[in-house]
């Protein structure tokens, strides 16, 4: 039965298009793709310093917290953030380096995989990221290095995220093109804490997902 629904729909489509008076209708897919108008910006012309500065600006605009740190000071910044938020049990992906983990904080490594209850009862999560887009203040996770599976950065109420300056691109097309190297990974775009404007259009931040987003932006001296 599923088969015949598929056939039926394909027949409908071909019939619907058969009268099309457009020459391009017969063009092969590659030719059509090549002819697509893409005159929008593909590349950000600014230098990396400006781009990183814009990311910080956009993150703060979304009320995410941003620490601007040198590589050597990263561990200390993480420890400081944990203390500030009262984080005692910290979820981490299995491949997060030991140097990142503050003393006095119980690190819950996701190996073997933590249960939903454990994630829910934790105080926060620490991850890296795949890339970040400055223009929109977006952090992208794709489950790659130091990111772990999606539930880790979703269930705990505070998300500490390490972003390196060299991971920051300027505009959206650049971010997508980086992700396109591994398009079938599970990908999450995060642009600030969750929000709703569903009650009389008053914007309320922090519905589901971590209500605190704390970014540790690592910039070489």
């Amino acid at each position: 039965m599923a088969e015949s629904a598929k056939d039926a729909i394909l027949v409908r489509i071909r019939t619907a298009l058969s009268g099309t008076s457009d020459a391009r209708a017969d063009a092969p897919a590659e030719a059509a793709a090549a002819a697509m108008p893409r005159a929008y910006r593909q590349q950000d012309a600014r230098n990396q310093t400006e781009i990183v500065a814009e990311l910080i600006d956009r993150l703060r605009d979304y009320k995410a917290h941003v620490d601007h740190v040198e590589p050597a000071a990263l561990a200390e910044a993480i420890a400081h953030a944990c203390a500030a938020y009262g984080i005692r049990r910290l979820v981490v992906p299995a491949d997060v380096p030991a140097e990142w983990l503050p003393a006095g904080v119980e690190a819950l490594r996701d190996d073997p995989p933590l249960t939903n209850a454990q994630l829910d009862e934790s105080d926060g999560v620490l991850t890296g990221c795949a890339f970040a887009i400055a223009q929109t203040g977006t952090i992208m996770l794709d489950g790659g290095a130091q990111q772990g599976r999606r539930a880790l950065s979703l269930v705990p109420d505070r998300h500490l995220c390490v972003v390196r300056a060299d991971q920051v691109v300027g505009i959206v097309p650049e971010g997508i093109s980086r992700l396109a190297a591994h398009p079938t990974r599970p990908i999450t775009f995060i642009s600030g804490p969750s929000a709703t404007s569903d009650i009389e259009l008053s914007r309320v931040e922090g519905v589901h997902g971590p209500r605190t987003l704390h970014v540790l932006l690592v910039v070489e001296g």
Binding site: M36, P37, R150, V172, R185, S191, A195, D198, L201, V207
Partner: protein
Amino acid sequence: MATRETGGIRPLPAFPDTARVALANTQLRRNLGKATTTIRAKRANVVSELPDWEELREAGAAIKADVMRHLDRYLLQLEESVTRAGGHVHWARDAAEANAIITRLVRATGAERVVKVKSLTTDEIGLNEALRRVGIVAVETDLAELIIQLAGEKSSHILVPAIHKNRSEIRDLFRRTIAQGQELSDEPQQLTAAARRYLREQFLSAQVAISGANFGVAETGTVAVVESEGNGRMCLTLPRTLITVMGIEKIIPTFRDFEVFLQLLPRSSTGERMNPYTSLWTGVSPGDGPQAFHLVLLDNGRTQVLADEVGRQTLHCIRCSACLNICPVYARTGGHAYSSVYPGPIGAILTPQLLGLERAKTLPYASSLCGACYEVCPVKINIPAVLLHLRGEVTQRAGPLDPEGVVMRQLATIFASPKRYERAQRLGRRGQRLFVRDGTISRLPGMLAGWTRARDLGPIPQQTFREWWRQREPQGSQGPKGGA
């Protein structure tokens, strides 16, 4: 041919009647007015930031046009990619078939409760009712959808469905349902926190989730959900089984095309540079998220829309609601007046094409043709052109004895001949004497009474322009027939 009607064959209520009722709802008018004014400004602001907005619109329009022209090919490619990545693809000719497939899939898991991400497509097919009939509860997890579900109502806006409710109504609702026995003020913050507590339990224990899809990439099999609250991420990540219902027109050809649509959509819908959360997933990822993924591809009338060369562009819609927010009609009548899951300007062209013109023939006229929708549409759907096209279809089907048609055809004959035209002018001028009082016409009969209900009309002047022209001293040259 399989039916494309989702609920019976009765015509929808006439828009002028439903609009009249809605216009009298003062709370709706205030909420809508405030919401649309706010969002319009936000949208204009973030769009003006981009120097290449028009180029993005151009690309979006071209990509979607290409998708429609090769829809069969792209659907087959999508099916292949999703299957390769461990997902299952199902095809549904209409709402009934889609509901049957989904019900079967849910039952196979043994679950009696599913969590849902907001999806207009699932509203379109009446999924929640179909599930309820077999004892499966679908818990809406979008705050606004939760509100209207608890209240037993229908959405009035694509993006802000509970816009017609105020905070104290919502507090009372929550006290009766999800927050029984809790101290609750009507502060949005508290109301949201109450919803969060209730829904968190649901997320952490749910076995099955049902979502829609904003985009489905043919090349890679990647599906995307764009959201703000985080309930999408919860539903798409935590349960074991995920079922996604996607209209066949939601396809985009390549992964790269996200660079266009993820710029167009957030700025057009919520007026933000980017919405808080976007999730992309492909089939099944071992150890991460649902281990069973089902994609249900839905026709339900879309292939009919595809068959109309002018109407086809309606399928380009990415459900941003920019047209709703800018529309002077929608901003005053709200969504219920359109009697459809899809309201506003896009609804005025999509609903008649999906349901059949006979069922929704007043919708193409629910517009003053101001063109503001076309200006803001991120994929350049020429809504006014499609409205005009559909109006043409409506009059053609009305038959030769339709009273309005008879009058209009008579008028056309008069206008086609200068002699008849001038005679009609003189007749009108004589005939108006009945209606002119103290230099004004304040009451007109029959169909025209609508005009004088709230407006005065000046009398037809005693001399037409051409009569003035003929009487004037010849000044310069004036050819015998003018332009010859």
